[in-house]
């Protein structure tokens, strides 16, 4: 029959066929817009089951195009790029390596492990290869920026948010160069690009690194409520925003800040830890628990869930031990007290006075500080198990002994913290080594 039609009629028939076929195609495949339940049948199914590219995070059109262009060759291309990446790393071609990293991610935008591995690589491995602290900081920032990009493209994965928080918090705050890094976080060393301010890509409001990390950990927790994370025990994962606040308060102290800001930081840390993290609900097999539950709460959980009380107690105990919950609660509570801040301030000031050569004033500050230190331990005996607290006390005793040596005086038989000095004798050699390196060996 087709042969009987004229060329023009055939064209019209084809056109009608095309238009008719377009109707089901549009109904099935129309792309979704920002509005809910928009788009064709397939788009709505993708939205329902959270499978669409748009629901995964920010869509990178180049990435989708690249995948389309490569068709089935994406795996091969990624392998080649990863080999190139390794070669560039071995040959220390950092700028090229950064570009290759971007290419890999263009092809694998939703592989979480790729983001985590490459982000770590930039922030930890590449930064360590550089000698100048400013250069190391640049690469830590590169790692953090890379992870932020990953989080934006994978909004439902809590892991990448968490990695970003870790890089901004722990890498910047706990590296050997932490003093420099923390300063750089607020005032970037690249004066040309960021005159007298932070790198706005990672710290637009010029906050402390731990506070920015806290925001990212919080984002991770928000995402975790929708999608399970696969990197650690849930209780531990969810403790990080509060932990970051604790880290912030501790960092202020390490930097010699003992004013209201530090006390407020500890107060907030205590609140975050006890009222925030402590009241978070965790699901056990047949019942729900929270870490701040007292005896009455345990009874109520046992009664409501119809499980044995010891089972509830055990579950709470495990969660508390995993997150070191009780210790941090005690620590935060202790540190927000005026006396505790006074201890830290006096011991810190004693060292500063010692460095200036004012031995009398230093000794006076130490005497007072060590006595208050003992009082602190009496009030909070748990702090006697904390490494940092003990190190601070033993260091102060060494300084106290050193002053006696320098003044050619015999130190008294009895001195503050003697009990701890004798009990913790095993820790002394290492701390003494650091002390001697800083202030010279004992005569």
């Amino acid at each position: 029959m087709i042969e009987q039609l004229t060329a023009q009629q055939r064209k019209v028939a084809y056109l009608i066929g095309i238009v008719v076929l377009m109707v089901p195609i549009i109904l099935l495949g129309m792309p979704a817009t920002d509005e809910a339940s928009s788009g064709g049948q397939l788009a709505r199914l993708r939205q329902t089951h959270d499978l669409g590219e748009s629901s995964l995070g920010k869509v990178d059109p180049t990435s989708a195009t690249m995948n389309l262009v490569l068709l089935g060759m994406r795996g091969i291309a990624v392998n080649l790029l990863r080999m190139e990446l390794d070669t560039q790393k071995d040959r220390k071609q950092w700028a090229q390596m950064r570009a290759t990293t971007e290419s890999v991610i263009l092809l694998q935008p939703h592989y979480i492990q790729v983001w985590r591995y490459l982000g770590w690589n930039l922030a930890y491995n590449v930064s360590a290869e550089w000698d100048a602290v400013e250069d190391r900081y640049f690469w830590v920032k590169e790692g953090a920026k890379f992870l932020m990009q990953g989080a934006e493209k994978n909004r439902r994965h809590p892991e990448v948010y968490w990695e970003t928080g870790r890089t901004l918090g722990q890498k910047i705050g706990r590296a050997d160069e932490w003093k420099h890094f923390r300063k750089f976080f607020k005032i970037d060393p690249d004066k040309d690009r960021y005159p007298n301010g932070p790198d706005s890509d990672i710290n637009p409001e010029g906050k402390d690194n731990y506070l920015v990390a806290k925001e990212w950990y919080q984002k991770a927790n928000d995402a975790e409520e929708q999608h399970e994370q696969h990197i650690m025990m849930r209780a531990l994962f969810r403790s990080y925003p509060a932990r970051s606040q604790l880290d912030y308060a501790e960092a202020l102290q390490k930097e010699g800040l003992f004013d209201e800001t530090t006390r407020n930081a500890w107060s907030l840390a205590y609140k975050d830890w006890v009222e925030g993290f402590g009241k978070m609900v965790f699901q056990e097999d047949d019942f729900e628990i929270y870490l701040e539950a007292d005896a009455k709460d345990v009874d109520q959980i046992a009664d409501t869930s119809k499980v044995d009380r010891p089972l509830v107690e055990r579950a709470i105990d495990i969660h508390q031990k995993v997150s070191n919950y009780k210790f941090w609660r005690t620590k935060a509570h202790a540190e927000m007290q005026v006396n505790t801040q006074g201890v830290h301030r006096e011991l810190y000031e004693a060292e500063q006075l010692f460095k200036k050569g004012d031995l009398e004033a230093s000794q006076e500050a130490l005497d007072s500080g060590l006595k208050r230190y003992e009082l602190m331990l009496e009030t909070y005996p748990d702090l006697g198990m904390d490494d940092n607290t003990l190190e601070e006390g033993l260091w102060a005793v060494m300084l106290w002994q050193k002053i006696y040596q320098l003044k050619n005086q015999i130190q008294p038989e009895e001195f503050p913290l003697k009990a701890i000095w004798e009990r913790e004798a095993g820790r002394i050699p290492n701390i003494q080594q650091d002390f001697n390196r800083k202030f010279g060996p004992s005569s």
Binding site: D90, R91, K92, W94, W130, D131, A132, V133, D135, D176, E177, K179, H180, D192, R193
Partner: protein
């Protein structure tokens, strides 16, 4: 990348070329004689000799006028095939490239990106055009039988090949030079105001090392790097790197530029980079002139200017002294510089190209157009291969062959070398296949049996073929000169330009011969 390739030595290179070309010609001649003997009997070798004689006659009697006429026809054909439309693509790219190049980068990186973009675009647009034109021309003429209008005239076959190569080369020159000029203007407009287009001229020296006791060694310490490009000197000891620079000219001052790498075995002083010191040495006079120390800018640039008159504290004589760089320090036209790391327990890494004397800069335009000439030379090389292969295979096959030469020559020679030398584990194609299907990784020992031996013997044949390919296809990465210019260096004559010119000419001659004989022996009636 390193900009310090081995210099091109014309004498040994020519000798090597004559040897390879002579062997190649000899093998082809011998095989031809043997085949002719087998096919035609006693008259065969005479016929081969006749062909050789005819070839000699044809090459000695070439007519530039006829070659030029064919070249003009080739140019017209290229224009007719809309080859010059490539300018439209180039213009579009240049017009909108600025939108896509990052403008918030450091000024020097913006320059690097702009220069790389311009030269890469010229290269990527030109090479496919000349590849398609050169591979498609002759087979199309043969297919359409338009070649009969030429071969029936008193034109020799070698003149057809030469005319084609010349014609396409002129088209390539036109495209590359016009794009080069436009690209240059674009770069000038693209670079930020605070950036500088520079063209450094480095003079590299010879490098040796002194160990911690001060004994001369070839290498320093390996601090665990997989890539053994750099060797390290130990800080706070007598260990140092000894650079010997040729110094032929007397100048008012000398500028050293270096890019060293630091390796720390302990944290050291956080916030301060490793301290480095240069010591100028005259071994004959026993003179040692220490210069002021400086903090190393790792993976960055350390610049040190030294005036001709140098004042320093002589530790041996315990006195301040002033010496003349050229009269007192330079010894037999050689300036010896010891590089020391002053931080005990830390290490400083360097390779030969990591330190050089920076001579007065050349104009950027010189370096840039040298790189453009590099693209042109690569185009001519491809045209030679393309035209030659199109004399004995059809267009698509010729394109595939020439493209393979380009691909392998630019990126796979190193990999092939690893395969041939056995550095790349996993064996030849059959062994790899065997390991793949039996899930054996490349570190596992294969069983010792006849099958494996047979498999490896066949693989050895493949490897032999690969060896031949590896030696036939040159390293085309030398033609890519944009990294020199993008990183602010001049394109050196000896290590880059001369090498590429020699490579182009060196392949052009055998290509002409192969092309001539292929076209002579080819049945032009066959499509």
């Amino acid at each position: 990348m390193t900009f310090d390739h081995a210099p091109f030595l014309f004498g040994p290179a020519l000798l090597h070329w004559v040897l390879v070309f002579g062997c190649f010609a000899g093998i082809v001649f011998s095989v031809s004689v043997l085949i002719a003997l087998g096919v035609y009997g006693a008259s065969g070798p005479t016929a081969v000799m006749g062909r050789v004689w005819q070839g000699l006659h044809d090459f000695l009697g070439i007519s530039p006028r006829r070659i030029w006429a064919i070249s003009l026809l080739t140019i017209k054909e290229a224009v007719r095939r809309k080859a010059l439309f490539v300018f439209v693509v180039f213009a579009s790219l240049v017009m909108f490239a600025g939108w896509f190049l990052e403008s918030d980068l450091r000024a020097d990186l913006q320059v690097k990106n702009a220069v790389s973009f311009a030269l890469t675009t010229i290269s990527w647009l030109t090479l496919p055009v000349v590849l398609l034109l050169s591979c498609w021309g002759l087979p199309e003429d043969i297919r359409l039988r338009s070649i009969h209008t030429i071969v029936t005239k008193p034109v020799r076959r070698n003149e057809i090949v030469m005319g084609r190569i010349l014609g396409f080369s002129i088209v390539a020159s036109l495209i590359v030079s016009m794009m080069g000029v436009v690209g240059y203007v674009w770069i000038r407009r693209q670079v930020p105001n605070n950036a500088e287009l520079i063209c450094r001229v480095p003079v590299y020296g010879e490098l040796s090392f002194l160990d911690r006791e001060g004994n001369l060694t070839d290498k320093g310490v390996n601090t665990g790097d997989i890539w053994e490009f750099r060797s390290y000197v130990e800080g706070g000891t007598r260990s140092s790197a000894v650079y010997k620079f040729p110094m032929d000219k007397v100048t008012d001052n000398v500028r050293f530029e270096s890019r060293f790498e630091a390796f720390r075995t302990h944290k050291g002083r956080i916030g301060q980079s490793l301290l480095v010191r240069y010591v100028l040495v005259n071994p004959t006079k026993g003179l040692r002139v220490p210069l002021g120390s400086f903090e190393v800018a790792e993976f960055g640039l350390n610049e040190k200017d030294v005036d001709r008159q140098i004042s320093f504290f002589d530790e041996d004589k315990n006195d301040n002294r002033t010496v003349d760089l050229f009269d007192d320090v330079v010894d037999q036209n050689t300036l010896t510089v010891e590089v020391q790391c002053l931080d005990a327990g830390q290490y400083l890494g360097m390779a030969r190209p990591d330190m050089f004397i920076r001579m007065p800069d050349r104009s950027f335009v010189v370096g840039y157009f040298k790189a453009v000439v590099g693209v042109l030379l690569l185009s001519i090389f491809l045209i030679s291969i393309g035209v030659t292969s199109s004399t004995f295979v059809k267009g698509p096959v010729s394109i595939l062959l020439t493209f393979t030469v380009l691909l392998v020559g630019q990126g796979f020679r190193e990999f092939m070398l690893k395969l041939i030398t056995g550095e790349q584990k996993g064996g030849g194609p059959i062994e790899s296949w065997y390991r793949l299907i039996t899930h054996m990784n490349d570190t596992l020992q294969l069983p010792d049996n006849f099958g494996v031996k047979l498999m490896q013997s066949i693989d050895n044949l493949f490897m032999g073929g690969l060896w031949l390919v590896q030696h036939l296809i040159p390293d085309l990465s030398y033609f890519v000169m944009s990294p020199y210019v993008a990183n602010g260096f001049d394109v050196p004559w000896s290590t880059a330009m001369a090498k590429c010119i020699a490579m182009t000419v060196g392949y052009l001659v055998p290509c002409l011969l192969v092309g001539y004989y292929s076209l002579t022996l080819r049945e032009l009636e066959a499509k």
